[in-house]
Amino acid sequence: MSSSNIKKVTPHISQNEALIFERSQPGRVGYRLPPLDVEEVAMDEIIPQKFQRDDELSGMPEVSEVDVIRHFTRISTWNYSIDLGLYPLGSCTMKYNSRLNERVARIAGFANLHPLASEEDAQGALEVIYELQDSLAEITGLPGISLQPAAGAHGEMTGIMIIRAFIDARDGAGASAKRRTMLIPDSAHGTNPASAHLSGFTVKTIRSTSEGFTDLEHLSELCAHGDVAGLMLTNPNTLGLFERNIKEISGIVHAAGGLVYMDGANMNALVGVARPGDMGVDVIHLNLHKTFSTPHGGGGPGCGPCCCTTELEPYLPVPRVVKDGENFRLDFDRPHSIGRVKAFYGNYGMMLRALSYIQTHGNDGLREATEAAVLNARYIAQGLAADYDKPFDAPPMHEVVFTDKRQSRKGVHTLDIAKRLIDYGFHPMTIYFPLIVQGAMLIEPTESVGRQELDQFIEAMRSIAREAVEDPELVRNAPHTTRIGRLDEAAAARKPVLRWKPKEAASAA
């Protein structure tokens, strides 16, 4: 294996660690509780025997505190993370997660606050929600905000249900029953059609043009049948291109009696520069865990606020947080609301972090972050253009898509390039998305990376392009420097093992 070009990483020992269940030793404990300080009565007097658990929770691991510490510390070292370097996953906006925001979320007066505390007793918490709503309204240009959705997909569902509720109210039961089509571009994220489906819509797919934009003609065609409830559009779209005809697009949809939903996953290209509300968008979700820097946490939690026009506001989930004079309160009295989409008020801890992000950046800082994010993507676009196929000519916004077209001639595919990037010390980009681009590699550097590391990334990618020519096997078998190699995912799915079982049980099964 040639590694002369690899300057970003060096192999080093990393600790092995079994499953915690394999570490368990009867009798070990890691907890310390105070002694019971009330008179104890026989448990059977409290809970009849037949309702009591009798398996002693067997199988659960018995370990000491230091076992737990070592277990998680060790396995943590097997992860790549933003704090280790560039994490250029397109569509995911892997930006720096400020420690200050983490600290804010842990302030006792928030962390220990019960969601059912009375309004008077939670004024600070409600004010945070209100402030964040206000800021997001300003940023999106859409005044109706609900912070209840827990993630992007959840926000989509909420937004689409709002569209449905609005149309049902506008058109009346009979007429609205005919408007059950949701238009979605073929480049859209999978959550879009899934969310539309959950709201009872039939999905029709709009083609993209060869330039990477929504096909206006196809859109018009699809809008001609009177069945369109709306359009779900990502902007910049998932190819990283700003839909420059957005006003026309919303015009067509509105004219056809539909509403425009914008998937706001790519707002990191727009904050402080342009506002969906000014583009004819009726409702949008944001991903606070992307644009507003709340940590991805290895897969969540997120927060997917839904922002809409005044017209749609009555349909937002309950409760709403409103201001009454100097006080904040929960408003449950919203007869047109689509209902509640989550217990309590959403992922509150993420709201704290996002507000902290907005306040520390300030309005200028928010725009500067957007500029840096776009500039970095542009820099990568230019740096890789000579070696990789760039399927679209339009200047990319915050992310750029390339393909494996040239490399695949040598039998080196996107997956191989991604895996080889690991050897070079980078987390791979998003691959095979969007689906419409064969062998897509979607690269989003975000603003949280300096020139030096961008250059390293470009150099690594160019080096891989050379390897694909000179030593395709090397790339096809990558990664070579990780604890484990490529795992057999097909076999795993064929006979899924989804949990640990004790040896006896496992062999008996």
């Binding site: 993370s81 007066g109 969601p115 007793d121 999978g190 989550k342 801890g349 309005n363 484990i484 899924p496």
Partner: protein
């Protein structure tokens, strides 16, 4: 760098956005502030949350339990919290192995066979369970006990409103507080699932075995929701009493109250339904050299592959909170969970004994409870609790009128291992004195 990419100014970066769509002025959000100012500002807001500083007996879906210090330390390792969904297993084994352990722990504690990598919370997990029951049974009627958490039912209603599912709510027994099998007349062979919560919203432990038998007899699934997951340390697991899908709010397992979120939804079911599960699943896999690892698996259920035909639209879930629950459960271990559960039950029983003795107070429901119970006061509960907070600095519980206007004098008290005997005694004394004051005032006028 601008020059490098052939641009003269930052504004040119946005040339592809039509000029009339570009903001001409800065956003009207506030100007940047420093760390010092920011922290002072948030501390100031936090100080306005009086309830966060008080002895509290609030439960009803969110619980105060002791959180070992190591939980936050471990989930704060940036290798965990600044990583994405583990799509690249070679450099994500930390997250993947943790999720595999989480799935296992959820199975163990619920008594089920497979569990997913988490849902948004207990309420959305319940909604997804109802949708899954419909997929599995291809039936469209769902019967739910009215003793399921009202907010959970609201969420279910929102989720199923466009799914062609008929949602029928049946009352729980007014004396025992339980959902009784006799009342299930509507459970028929059109029914996809019976949905109950145990302990239910009123704290009463349901007879799951009886309910499961009834449901199964009609070919329906039993969906059990658990809002107080700590109860599983003491109560027979839903899995061992015949549940087909178990969902739970995992907040009790090491997650701060945080005004309602982020929490974590647990979702477990039978192995035979594995391919109908919503959300992510992690499975064991091997590399060419036979080294064991873990990968996201059965992805064909999911939206990024299946799009509108996916088992759910969920993508981002509650990864880090699931990790917190994993750390918590492994730290506590079986003995710790049992001990915490025992203390909850004993302390709640003690509180119930003492409250029952207060003049004019009673406990309307007769069935066994874990750590929550309904109290009937001789006065308006909301006012009673608000006066108690004001004069005794205790949050005494949740006035049921928030959800059930007709239960104006009732409130739900939750006691956990963090409530000391002294706090309980103060609660009892406070309830006695404040209520008698209220009665006197009332009699006086």
């Amino acid at each position: 760098m601008l020059g490098q990419v052939g641009l003269g100014s930052a504004e040119e970066l946005f040339d592809s956005i039509p000029a009339d769509l570009r903001l001409r002025e800065p956003l009207k959000t506030s100007a940047a502030i420093s760390e010092l100012e920011l922290l002072a500002g948030f501390e100031n807001l936090a100080a306005k949350n009086g309830a966060a500083r008080r002895a509290s007996f609030l439960g009803a879906g969110a619980y105060s339990h002791y959180i070992p210090t190591i939980v936050d330390h471990l989930i704060s390792r940036s290798e965990f919290f600044t990583a994405y969904t583990p799509y690249q297993p070679e450099i994500s084994q930390g997250t993947l192995q943790a999720i595999f352990e989480f799935q296992t722990l959820v199975c163990q504690i619920t008594g089920m066979e497979v569990a997913n990598a988490s849902m948004y919370d207990g309420s959305t997990a319940l909604a997804e369970a109802v949708l899954m029951a419909e997929r599995v049974t291809r039936r469209s009627k769902v019967i739910a006990s009215s003793a399921v958490h009202p907010e959970y039912m609201e969420v279910v209603r929102t989720y199923v409103q466009h799914a062609g599912i008929e949602l029928v709510q049946i009352d729980s027994d007014s004396s025992s507080g339980q959902t009784v099998a006799d009342s299930l007349a509507q459970l028929d062979n059109e029914t996809a699932a019976l949905v109950v919560q145990s302990p239910n919203f009123f704290g009463c432990v349901e007879d799951l075995r009886a309910l499961a038998d009834k449901a199964h007899a009609a070919g329906a699934l039993l969906i059990v929701a658990v809002t107080e997951a700590m109860s599983l340390g003491l109560l027979r697991s839903p899995g061992s009493t015949g549940a087909d899908i178990v969902v739970a709010e995992g907040q009790s397992f090491g997650v701060p109250l945080s005004f309602g979120g982020p929490y974590v939804g647990l979702f477990a079911t039978r192995e035979k339904y594995a391919r109908q599960i919503p959300g992510r699943l992690v499975g064991e896999a091997f590399d060419k050299e036979g080294r064991r690892g873990y990968v996201l698996t059965l992805a064909t259920r999911e939206q990024h592959i299946r799009r509108e035909k996916a088992t759910s639209n969920i993508c981002t879930n509650e990864g880090l909170i699931a990790l917190a629950a994993t750390v918590y459960l492994e730290t506590m271990g079986p003995r710790g969970i049992q001990e915490a559960a025992r203390q909850c039950a004993q302390k709640a029983a003690y509180a119930a004994r003492r409250i029952r003795e207060i003049e004019g107070f009673s406990l309307p429901f007769t069935s066994p409870v874990f750590n929550e119970f309904v109290v009937r006061a001789p006065v308006d509960a909301k006012e009673l609790l608000s006066r108690l907070a004001e004069s005794k600095n205790i949050t005494g519980g949740l006035a049921l009128s928030r959800y059930f206007p007709e239960r104006a004098n009732e409130f739900l008290v939750c006691v956990t291992e963090v409530n000391s005997r002294r706090e309980i005694d103060s609660l009892v004394e406070g309830l006695a004195s404040v209520s008698s004051e209220m009665i006197q005032n009332h009699n006086g006028t």
